[in-house]
Symmetry: C2
């Protein structure tokens, strides 16, 4: 039996959380994660780690949880599952930087298992630059493609399109950022045995700090002024709109009595709204808006 | 036939918008509403009036719209209606003040009619103080009760409870503010003939500036400092959470391809999120949290 025990998966996920926090703290140089332990009444709990007011990171959360119990009615219905107990563990990250030239980033890896044997992995990572830099976008997507290609050469294209469709704000007719990859309900099969599958998911977790520390190191010294800060505050408003209106995980969490503070650790420290704000012709902001589209091939060979 | 033609109702609503804007401008003393006219592809349009950076008002929107056409599939389904053309007109207001001692306010009056003869009025008004002042709350509810009582002495109690249930943030287990009144699907009957019903709805529109100018005049000179501003920014975050996650109108508008900027004119100019923020023992902020409950009788006789 190749499948790994759920408690071991949770332990490994928690190690990924630890690794990510250490790497981000080192790169930030000043900020420290504070740990908030919580328990779930119906079974399980988690550790939400939040860093506020760092040198580079304004507000970042790296959350781990492992919860279990009878599967809530709403989950059964939504996922068309038969009644059984469930176990779910995951690591979820959102980082809001101080400097508008550093992108916002999100990552999530998760494992879901039921007492009847059903199980799957899911996850995703996407980048939301306040100002889109095509080279940064290319670096980001190349890293993801290389990781995907090491496991299955159909993954990147498939998961990139899934991300384009998922991280989309219909009421703004714009993508949240430059996308990334998104996948769900991945179970092992002959081509992708369990150890390889979990390695793909864990590998994404370990890839995260490499990618984000690259942007922290390279972009946090880029100059910016009031104009860039104002634009950042508006883009953060869009981030709020996506997460509260469209993000399936957030909506579902809030709807099913999840732990509000952990779910909403993704909120920016501050967000602004200005009525009918449109960037000037020729501005960097307008160039960014024009790049918030689905289906862009960011990898220039 | 006592029923008033839909175009006349729309005209009257637009006059209410005009009246409210004039009264608010006068009380503010500096801010001016800018009008943004828009058209709806499928029929109708509106005028969104927004005031930014006034003396008392940080950001306020007073929107009028009158739209018509085939009833969208989603509306038919949601409201269990048979296929027919629809006409809808309304005035909708959200005001975010500069001084945290002045409350946020919202009001909405609306009329919906179908080509098959179905029609109804809906509306609501609620107050969201950053710091709850019991006397202010009492004044607010007394004004609403007096207005309701002039039409039907069962209205206030019924509509106040409806507001408590509607303006509620389940994931925070708190009300948005101190409530107000909310009503929907009101049609004329023997006890409440059409002219009386529309007078009740219009009267609420005309009551609005009286109520809010009272708070603008009395509260905008109250002292505040950094601590109050920080709390205001967090409360505005809660306002965002309610509107984007739970408000039926907002959700529905964004979901059915409504005009995003008009729908989201309710967003505050700025909102903050701090992880797991809890006010200090004995603070005014904590006292406010303790008053964000359903079912409080604010009217002390």
């Amino acid at each position: 039996m190749e499948k790994i025990n759920k408690e071991i998966i949770a332990e490994r996920f928690q190690k990924i959380q630890q690794h990510i926090c250490e790497a981000l703290e080192k790169e930030d140089g000043i900020g420290k994660f504070k740990t908030d332990l919580w328990e779930r009444l119906q079974g399980g709990g988690g550790a939400t780690k939040v860093l506020a007011n760092g040198k580079i990171i304004a507000k970042g959360g790296v959350a781990f949880s492992a919860v279990h119990g009878p599967t809530p009615e709403k989950i059964l219905k939504k996922l068309s599952l038969e009644e059984a107990d469930f176990f779910a563990t995951g690591v979820s990250i959102v980082i809001h930087p101080i400097n508008p030239m550093v992108p916002i980033i999100h990552m999530n890896i998760r494992y879901f298992e039921m007492s009847n044997g059903t199980y799957w992995f899911g996850g995703g990572i996407d980048l939301t630059p306040h100002f889109v830099d095509v080279e940064d976008a290319s670096y980001f997507h190349k890293q993801l493609k290389a990781h995907c290609d090491a496991y299955d050469d159909s993954y990147y294209e498939k998961f990139k399109q899934w991300a384009d469709d998922y991280f989309y704000i219909p009421h703004r007719k714009e993508t949240r950022g430059i996308g990334g990859i998104f996948f769900d309900r991945l179970s092992a099969n002959e081509k992708m045995p369990f150890p390889k599958l979990i390695s793909f998911v864990e590998g994404l977790g370990y890839l995260f700090p490499k990618i984000y520390c690259h942007f922290m190191a390279n972009n946090h010294k880029l100059p910016y002024g009031d104009q860039e800060l104002k634009w950042q505050a508006l883009r953060r408003g869009r981030y709020v709109e996506f997460n509260l209106v469209w993000d399936a995980g957030t909506k579902f969490g809030l709807d099913t009595n999840g732990r509000t503070e952990s779910i909403l650790m993704s909120m920016p420290p501050e967000a602004n709204w200005v009525y009918n704000q449109t960037p000037e012709e020729g501005s960097e902001a307008l160039k960014t808006l024009e790049l918030l589209k689905k289906g862009i091939n960011w990898i220039k060979d």
